[in-house]
């Protein structure tokens, strides 16, 4: 596969690992912001072959993990509404709300449909004029333009039965929240590659400027991440603090202006609740006032449930999402909380830190074998 296989060459990986071992002195805590990086790091077993002093801190970049329970409950309420189809990405199906999940509702007979693209949801509305189609739209900056575009398309098509339950979140405000948190110790950031294709590298320039931490925006193949680590360690050694782009084949300084225009045309910033973290000002996007007709929250206001209490006390999802704690520090990890019966969001998404740990490492923890 062109532009993928080139970045999986084991010989180059060995070379990069040698570089990392040479460059590394002292403890390095590196936060990978994006859940995609978490997945690649854990799936490739990268932490085993890195120097023990390099520690990844898994960041809040997984939309499934940070979607608040209240929002899941709203989607479930709409799925229970007669003649309503809830369309969403496969990721959201298993996320537990306060008492159910969309997958469970589907099993009970609700019309819940997994879509690959937001335009598939619009198509569904066009094909089902007698039903309301609610697109439960989640995502970071990468997905937001595509989700937003579906509203533009539905409007062009004159569809009145299409609406969006929006849960869109932004990277820079949550990084700020993480950096302002006195519990969090991060030496450098592995920047999110795909978010950056849209927003450009400039969105992170505040990190070196205001917080004096290096940022390297990375691709998602194993060798991309290893090369980014080399770049980070070089910055650390040379005492530099800047935004560098390893993923230069897809990321520019200013990103994708057309996509950013779509975002501006469709959404406006709002305060957003982050599951496990709390409310952060201007960290979310909801549909603009003039597009209220497409906003499922307003359209079906009467169906919206009262918000219920957040996570149970046994789950330390919030600390994990902020990178303060690791899954194995949670008393429920692997016992009260498993992918089959998740307590918190980190166990739900395959990108979720706990799920990734459970899937690839829990055995190692039990046996104390391969890793150490």
């Amino acid at each position: 596969m062109k532009l993928v296989d080139e970045y999986r060459d084991p010989a180059v990986a060995r070379y990069l690992l040698e570089q990392i071992h040479e460059l590394c002195d002292g403890q390095q805590s590196i936060m990978e912001i994006c859940g995609g990086h978490t997945h690649a790091i854990v799936r490739s077993g990268m932490e085993q072959v890195l120097p023990p002093t390099v520690k990844f801190v898994h960041g809040p970049g997984c939309p499934v993990c940070v979607t608040p329970i209240a929002k899941i409950d709203q989607a479930i309420a709409l799925a229970r509404r007669p003649r309503t189809i809830v369309a969403t990405y496969g990721d959201m199906m298993r996320v537990p709300g306060s008492s159910s999940s969309l997958l469970q509702e589907k099993a009970k007979g609700a019309h819940v449909k997994i879509v690959y693209s937001s335009l598939d949801a619009v198509q569904l509305a066009a094909e089902n004029p007698d039903s309301e189609v609610v697109f439960f739209a989640v995502g970071f900056e990468t997905t937001i333009p595509a989700n937003g575009f579906s509203v533009i398309r539905a409007k062009q098509l004159g569809l009145t039965n299409y609406s969006m339950l929006s849960n869109h979140v932004l990277v820079p405000p949550v990084i700020r929240a993480v950096l302002d948190d006195p519990d969090v110790r991060i030496d450098a950031f592995l920047g999110p590659g795909h978010v950056s294709t849209i927003v450009g590298s400039q969105d992170y320039e505040f990190i070196p400027r205001e917080y004096h931490r290096p940022v390297v925006i990375s691709g998602f193949e194993p060798n991309d991440i290893l090369e980014s680590l080399v770049m980070i360690l070089k910055q650390r050694r040379e005492g530099r603090c800047e935004v560098e782009v390893q993923y230069s084949r897809a990321v520019t300084r200013y990103g994708n202006p057309r996509a950013l225009d779509v975002v501006k045309d469709v959404f406006s910033p709002v305060e957003q609740d982050w599951r496990g973290i709390g409310a952060i000002a201007e960290s979310g996007l909801s549909l603009r006032e003039e597009l209220r007709a497409f906003d499922a929250y307003h359209k079906f206001r009467d169906w919206m449930p009262e918000p219920r209490s957040e996570e149970t006390g046994e789950c330390i999802c919030g600390d994990i999402t902020r990178g303060v704690k690791e899954p194995r520090e949670c008393a429920s990890f692997g016992t009260g909380c498993t992918p089959e019966r998740p307590l918190g969001a980190c166990m739900v998404s395959s990108e979720g830190t706990c799920a990734a740990y459970y899937r690839y490492q829990h055995v190692t923890i039990q046996t104390g074998g391969a890793r150490d």
């Binding site: 532009l3 070379y15 990405y89 693209s117 937001s118 999110p192 294709t197 998602f220 897809a250 779509v262």
Partner: protein, 85 residues
């Protein structure tokens, strides 16, 4: 991933849609988020949308740079080993 995006080659364009080949999997994806796209371009596809044109020249150059360092290192290592012998 926080954005599972896959590179693919544009085969054909029809209005705002392009047929993209992603490792042998072909699908029409929306190209309205991009400016001009041409058949033969490699684009990054996410949720049925092309997000960016991949700069193949940049990709090639950075890979070659990395490979050059790797080769140099390899030769140095072989050199060291021979000296050691």
């Amino acid at each position: 991933m926080m954005c599972l995006a896959v590179p693919g080659e544009v085969l054909d364009i029809d209005g705002s849609m392009a047929m993209v080949d992603m490792a042998g999997v072909k699908r029409w994806v929306c190209i309205d988020l991009l400016g001009e796209v041409h058949p033969g371009d490699y684009v990054l596809v996410h949720v049925g949308f092309a997000l960016q044109i991949i700069d193949e020249q940049e990709a090639q150059e950075t890979l070659e740079l990395l490979r050059a360092c790797f080769q140099e290192d390899l030769h140095a290592a072989v050199g060291r080993q021979q000296e050691g012998d």
